[in-house]
Symmetry: C2
Subunit: 78 residues, 2 copies
DNA sequence: ATGTGACTGGCAGTCCGTA
DNA sequence: ATACGGACTGCCAGTCACA
């Protein structure tokens, strides 16, 4: 699973959890509206700077946005 | 604290914890030797793709490399 | 084994549309 | 409000030569 897909999912989930539109988030983070859209569609590999700005705008930790969903790696048990 | 500084520290710490040289890590991650050096000196904002490749080469989670040291933000509880 | 300056291509990121 | 393009551009990620 590509890291940008992980990021895309987490970004979208976090944004929706905050009840923000792409436009609002873009404004808060000082980025372009269509760029947010692109990120959520896994078009680009964002820089960690962008990740951080989005994290701040969403009030989450930057590392949270890169967390793979549990069970993505080699499954041990479960 | 800039995110790239956080990344720089975590990268260096993780690399040294594994007992790898910058050269070895660069080779494993398929990156340039001097680029690793630059990252550890906080010269660049790496892309999340690079973060992930380094994380894999270091056998840690990508999100780990972006974790701010505890006590960096507003502490709520704990 | 690491730091650094100089260089350059490619892609991040913007802006404009249409649906 | 979002997806999805096309067209554009600046800048910086990433490399190389050398110390």
């Amino acid at each position: 699973m590509e890291i940008r897909e992980v990021f895309a999912r987490n970004l979208k989930a976090a944004r929706q959890a905050k009840g923000l539109s792409q436009e609002e988030l873009a404004f808060r983070a000082g980025l372009d509206r269509t760029y947010i859209s692109s990120l959520e569609r896994r078009v680009y590999n964002a820089s960690i700077d962008v990740v951080d700005r989005l994290a701040i705008a969403l009030d989450v930790e930057a590392s949270e946005l890169l967390k793979r969903p549990p069970g993505t790696k080699i499954k041990l048990l479960r």
